[in-house]
């Protein structure tokens, strides 16, 4: 036997390791299957029920599509995106050629480029939604974290803000939207707007609806700092600024991230409704447009959107969970 075979286990050895029992007396393979089987089963049963019951529901847009039709539609949307990419590439190719010709015949003159304006594809819409929710959420965080720190540090400010927080927290995006629309239209007047109005309206609505969990959790985190840690800062005679930066924020980071995770969840949920009404070119508008279109494919496309929204929301939550984990310094989080 040479050394390589000793260092690198053969396929057979690896397979054997899978059926070997580990510390708890269960085989590794069985443990793995035990972890993956129930969720897999849940999904299969769900797809089964959906498949069977969908064919029996007839809507004004035709029969409710089953899983297979929705899958096909997802592929279809992806193909549309690929086609659009090809079209855009050929457009740029043509423009490049035209520019070369133009420069050759009129040297020294400015060539006026034409911006490509293709249809936004499904992927573009996903990214618009992500961008909008990110801006709205960040704006909310930038407002909520400092306010939360103030609340946590100062009982009077806490008492002053508490009723406002309690009243505004449960307000639905649908109620905010008209106000935000009117205010943005009145205040945001510019000849060359940096942001589209619909984008701003959606983002600000997201901010208004989603900032509360961050605010509440930050205040809680700051208020519940170990008193002895604050005493350390007193013994060192730290300035308030240093105290906040070096002690208050780090020690409440875990709860700040918990709040941000909840906020991001709310933000993503609210965004779809906001986009629908504000006509911001994202997933919400996509769903609305399909609903208005009423073509034979509309229901399938809306269902693809539903799964996309769910999946993106899930990924956002996982990301925030990792951040939360990093901020908890050895303590476990749910």
């Amino acid at each position: 036997m040479n050394t390589t075979t000793q260092l690198i286990p053969s396929v057979w050895q690896r397979l054997m390791a899978l059926v070997q029992t580990d510390a708890s007396g269960e085989s590794v393979l069985r443990k793995f299957l035990g972890g993956i089987a129930p969720p897999l089963m849940g999904i299969i049963i769900f797809l089964g029920i959906w498949h069977v019951s969908a064919s029996g529901i007839h809507t004004s847009l035709g029969t409710l599509p089953g899983p297979v039709a929705v899958m096909k539609q997802a592929d279809n949307l992806y193909q549309e995106y690929r086609n659009e990419q090809v079209r855009e590439a050929s457009f740029h190719e043509r423009q490049k050629n035209r520019k070369a010709e133009f420069m050759a015949s009129n040297p020294g003159e400015e060539f006026s480029e034409i911006k490509y304006t293709g249809q936004p594809t499904y992927l573009d819409q996903i990214f618009t939604s992500l961008y909008t929710v990110f801006v709205g959420f960040m704006l909310g965080t930038v407002i909520a974290v400092p306010l939360g720190i103030l609340c946590g540090l100062n009982k009077t400010i806490q008492a002053a803000l508490n009723p406002l927080i309690q009243i505004f927290r449960p307000v639905s995006p649908l109620a905010w939207l008209p106000i935000v629309t009117l205010v943005v239209s009145a205040v945001y007047i510019s000849d060359d707007p940096m942001f589209a109005k619909s984008f701003l309206i959606s983002a600000i609505t997201v901010t208004l609806c989603s900032m509360w969990p961050t605010l509440v959790n930050t205040a809680l985190g700051v208020a519940s700092i170990d008193k002895d840690l604050l005493n350390v800062s007193k013994v060192l005679r730290l300035s308030t600024r240093t105290k906040v930066m070096k002690i208050v924020i780090p020690s409440s980071l875990k709860l700040i991230f918990t709040g941000m995770r909840l906020s991001l969840g709310v933000a993503w949920m609210v965004l779809i409704a906001a986009e629908m009404l504000a006509q911001n070119p994202g997933l919400g508008k996509f769903v609305w447009d399909e609903f208005q279109n009423g073509s034979s494919q509309s229901l399938e496309r809306i269902m693809v959107a539903v799964f996309t929204i769910g999946f993106v929301g899930f990924m956002l939550d996982r990301t925030m969970h990792s951040l939360q984990q990093m901020a908890s310094f050895g303590q476990r989080t749910e």
Binding site: N231, V235, L236
Partner: protein
């Protein structure tokens, strides 16, 4: 059998060596002086005299323990000395200057370690010097020095949650000492540790105290700990918190666990018990008598099938 009181020296009797040591200590400069110190809390239930008319002084490099039943104001006293709480009467002088507010000339070690969980061991210790404006390199050098002194050089890059309780408390001690305080104030620092770790930490603390120029005020409610560590023990009594007695511990130095059964140690302990648990002692005797008089246990078994 009756304890042979006559063969033991009373806690007031000191061997010539111990006496000479105390004479030497008393010649040293006074670091901390407390005069007629009082603290009255005003609460919704009314006024509470947590401390009343406390008088004592601590000499340089002395190790003084404060002991007393729960609620007698030990924590309040040390918090006042740390400047974390205001007193309502009298004065506390550090190097002759009245204490008003916290400062780096007093290092504080809390029962709950209170390390920064988001910083490594080394950065925890570096925190004070850095905030003082020492540069990164100097702060790091100082931190390394003190971590070596508490025997934690190997763990300087670990995070507090990766350390045992005893190790964390050693980091907390290093973090307090790195600021080179005139006096180290410790509020039941080993209270949360198991007996074995606690014993190790006691030896460790004495080792540190021997090697560096620091004065220590140490709160505990463990009588053995107080006698083992202290030059003098300040005994407080509750409601209101007043000085019961200031005992000069007659156990010679260097101390070792073997001395726990020495006559001086036992005499001192007996005196402390007397001061702190007079009522509890009487209760215990009563309970014992009752047990001896009437056994309460009923046997649900045959007399012949003994398990022993």
């Amino acid at each position: 059998m009756k304890p042979a009181h006559s063969t033991r020296p009373g806690y007031l009797e000191q061997s010539p060596a111990v006496k000479a040591r105390f004479d030497k200590i008393k010649q040293r400069e006074v670091i901390l002086e407390v005069r007629n110190l009082g603290k009255r809390f005003v609460t919704a239930q009314g006024e509470v005299d947590a401390l009343r008319d406390i008088n004592f002084s601590i000499h340089r490099r002395e190790l003084v323990c404060v002991i007393g039943p729960s609620g007698c104001g030990k924590s309040t006293l040390i918090r006042i000395l740390a400047g974390l709480e205001n007193h309502t009467s009298g004065v506390a002088l550090l190097d002759g200057k009245p204490i008003d507010g916290p400062g780096q000339d007093r290092g504080m070690v809390f029962q709950g370690y209170s390390l920064f969980p988001w910083l490594t061991v080394k950065k925890n210790v570096m925190f004070g010097p850095e905030m003082k404006g020492h540069g990164w390199e100097q702060a790091e050098r100082e931190a390394n020095l003190w971590l070596e002194l508490v025997g934690l050089s190997k763990f300087s890059d670990a995070y507090p949650h990766q350390l045992s309780g005893g190790m964390r408390q050693r980091v907390a001690i290093a973090r307090a000492l790195v600021n080179e305080p005139r006096i180290l104030l410790m509020d039941e620092p080993f209270g949360a540790l198991d007996a074995q770790t606690r014993a190790k930490m006691q030896s460790h603390l004495m080792e540190i105290w021997r090697n560096i120029d620091v004065t220590i005020l140490f709160i505990t409610h463990d009588l053995d700990e107080a006698i083992y560590l202290a030059d003098r023990i300040l005994v407080l009594k509750p409601n209101p918190g007043e000085v019961h007695e200031l005992i000069e511990v007659p156990v010679p130095r260097p101390r070792s666990p073997a001395q726990f059964s020495s006559p001086e140690f036992l005499a001192t302990k007996a005196r402390l018990e007397e001061l702190i648990h007079p009522a509890a002692k009487a209760e215990k005797n009563e309970a014992e008598e009752e047990q001896n008089g009437t056994p309460h246990l009923i046997r649900f078994t045959n007399v012949n099938d003994n398990v022993e």
